[in-house]
């Protein structure tokens, strides 16, 4: 009872003290400003660099959010809707192992399991960290008996049960391509051209930007859409480096509807998924995608009926995917923490923000981690990566959510989604002069493990975390925004959280066109 009395007295005193201050108190420091534009908030930005098309490009987002009563827009649930021409690592892989040792100089070996992969033709194969498979090697065919035929002989003996990654696309590169100035015909003794190569992009110093394969002539010869600009007897040319296919991903809406069928609208099944492994509850080891119709994928079978929503992982990370735990970026945050909840923080009355920096790590699908509190992938989505912020104990995450672009079939858009960033748990209560929240995230264009890959590893054009799509004109107009996913909070004014990037057509310019702005 004594406790009740003291609280009543305290409340009455608080009311008495508060009343004269309401609306008539002197103004203290100006509140923070909302936004991600340096015209409003010094140094704020939504931008990327380099901004030129078809380049690897890092993303930088720096915004402030007010924490003032009546205009508080601090949200733990928000997303960065990346520029429309941004692409994150693309592609998935099928992992196979060899049943027996492979001699040096061999061009074939037997795989332990080739279920649903016998149609694989002209797909890059890599044994990461293992000597013996030379760069630019691809699988020419896989027989029904699981005999794998390689484009290049092995350069060293390979022990049994070595893991190989086969990409889920027929993009590849060769270093023996003969080009002739002003001619659209090119030849390669080893490219193993097929009719399926028509339409693939062709890139190299001997061909102009935007060139594609126009026609299949024979296994060593194709015709290009544009004439070569240089003559070479052994040019290094990539075929299909701009190809977009399905990427190893985690979908969280799956249901196992029969022994052979998985239903997952979020997975957005793709022809390139055929032959990829799928894992999840009710799915036995060594289950592979055989076909799909709409949201239903047929597998090699043996599954247990399991109601949705389940988490499934489709495919293995490709050879050029960032390694899980690679550093993928940095996050910096300023917020005013309560010293009662976080020791060492300055008193809330001082209204001084504390500053933090956190390394962002990349995790591939199948390696997502962290407690459910701050690390739950948004429902009904496919995530191609987890950006994991390693704190003292309770880590938190953002997810790279891939969405099929309805305006450009065959392409994707990407959101970096924070399902629950710990923004308000310990933040001092807002006052009219609270400093607000400062948030800055930089996403790298490449990670250390990818940068260390030998040239010619895996599928050409995929050795990056983030890049920009090619442009036929050299220019583009693209927009990125930061939006709240809390239905009750709106980042406003929207214009302050939106960045339009207009990059001029023509030859690439050396500038910071879509950077700080």
């Amino acid at each position: 009872m004594q406790r009740f009395r003291s609280r009543l007295i305290a409340a009455a005193v608080a009311m008495t003290l508060a009343a004269p201050l309401m609306g008539v108190g002197p103004a203290a420091a100006a509140p923070a400003t909302n936004g991600c534009k340096n015209s409003s908030v010094g140094g704020a930005e939504i931008g990327h660099y380099p901004a030129q098309p078809a380049s690897q490009s890092g993303l930088r987002v720096s915004c402030t959010f007010k924490n003032n009563p009546g205009s508080n827009i601090v949200s733990g649930k928000f997303r960065i809707k990346d520029f429309g021409n941004a692409q994150y690592h693309n592609g998935g892989a099928r992992t196979i192992t060899n049943t027996a040792a492979i001699a040096s100089g061999a061009t074939t070996f037997t795989a332990a399991n080739c279920a649903s992969a016998t149609a694989y033709v002209n797909r890059p194969i890599t044994a990461v960290g293992v000597i013996g498979i030379p760069p630019r090697t691809f699988v020419k065919s896989i027989s029904g008996a699981c005999l794998v035929t390689l484009s290049n002989p092995t350069t060293a003996a390979i022990v049994a049960s070595t893991s190989f990654k086969i990409d889920n696309a027929n993009a590849r590169s060769r270093a023996d391509v003969a080009t002739t100035t002003a001619s659209t015909t090119i030849t390669s003794a080893t490219a193993n051209f097929t009719a399926a190569d028509v339409g693939l992009s062709v890139s190299g110093t001997e061909v102009p930007s935007g060139t594609t394969i126009a026609a299949f002539v024979n296994v060593t010869t194709v015709t290009l859409s544009a004439a070569a600009t240089a003559t070479s007897a052994a040019a290094t040319i990539s075929f299909g480096s701009s190809l977009l296919t399905s990427t190893t991903r985690q979908a969280n809406d799956a249901g196992i509807t029969s022994a052979t069928v998985i239903n997952s609208p979020a997975a957005k099944w793709n022809a390139a998924d055929i032959g990829l492994k799928v894992t999840g509850p009710g799915i036995p080891a060594n289950t592979f995608i055989v076909s799909f119709v709409g949201a239903n994928a047929t597998t090699t079978g043996g599954m247990t009926i399991t109601p949705a929503p389940q988490i499934i992982v489709i495919g293995d990370p490709s050879a050029t995917a960032p390694n899980s735990t690679d550093q993928a970026g940095l996050q910096g945050v300023q917020l005013d923490l309560s010293p009662t909840l976080v020791a060492g923080s300055e008193d809330c009355a001082a209204e001084n923000a504390e500053g933090f920096a956190t390394v962002a790590r990349w995790n591939n699908p199948g390696s997502f981690t962290g407690s459910a509190l701050f690390n739950t992938q948004p429902t009904g989505t496919k995530a191609i990566g987890q950006i994991y912020f390693d704190t003292s104990v309770a880590d938190f995450s953002a997810f790279v959510i891939e969405t099929n672009n309805p305006f450009a079939p065959g392409t994707f858009t990407y959101d970096i989604v924070f399902p629950n960033a710990p923004t308000t748990l310990a933040m001092c209560p807002g006052t009219a002069t609270s400093p607000g929240l400062g948030f800055s995230l930089g996403v790298q264009q490449q990670t250390l493990s990818v940068a260390a890959l030998p040239s010619g590893t895996g599928r050409p054009g995929t050795a990056q975390l983030r890049s920009l799509a090619p442009s036929a004109t050299g220019g583009y107009f693209s927009t990125a925004t930061v939006v709240s996913d809390d239905p009750l909070i709106t980042f406003t004014p929207a214009s302050e959280f939106t960045r339009d990037c207009s990059y001029p057509a023509g030859p690439a310019q050396v500038n910071f066109k879509c950077g700080n702005g």
């Binding site: 009455a12 309401m22 909840l341 923080s345 504390e354 981690t369 509190l373 739950t376 629950n420 748990l425």
Partner: protein, 220 residues
Amino acid sequence: MRSRTLAGLVALLCTGILTASPVQAQDDGQAPDTTLRELPGAVTIGNGFSFTGAVITPPAGENPRTLDAYQAAVFVQSWLPTSIFGQDVQKDPPPDLPVYQIDIMGNWAGPVGTITVYFATDGTTPYVAFPQDQAVATEPGGPPPLPADWFVPPARVIDAFNGEAELVDTAGTQTTTTTTSESAAAPSDDDSGTSLGWTWAAVAAAGVVLVGLVLRWRSS
């Protein structure tokens, strides 16, 4: 319980008055986070977390005890921020300390269910284990995670463990609408009033309520 209810009511009135001031009436579309209303009686701490209670299981032989919604919220609030923002806090407890298992029920920013943590103390230093590799248990009966990821939170966790601490005002509690008189101790960001006239009307109303409460308390 009664005292907390009354105190919460008073606090709510004070908060309503404060947020109705003209200076703070610059609403731009933001409203309180009401996404947690799905759990009746839950007490929120912000960031989507609200709690309905907890069960504390002693190491052996003793009967479990419970924390109510408010106490559970205070307990989680007392250590969770340090697990994120704390510097150099990871530390295992001495092996001879008794370890209590705490199963906390609530809405964990979406999933509704139970998260298990562990607590130990020598009377001065508290230790909390927050196993990171656990999902929210949505059905009872499953095996709890083993103690892992120990750290040293602020000393007030000891009071919170004993059900004797108070919820700390934060931006999270400030912007969250709760559903019980207990949880109403968290300041509301309600912007329903925008005029100075409303403010003074609220002051008068609060005064009347206060007087009534005091009189009722004295007569009981």
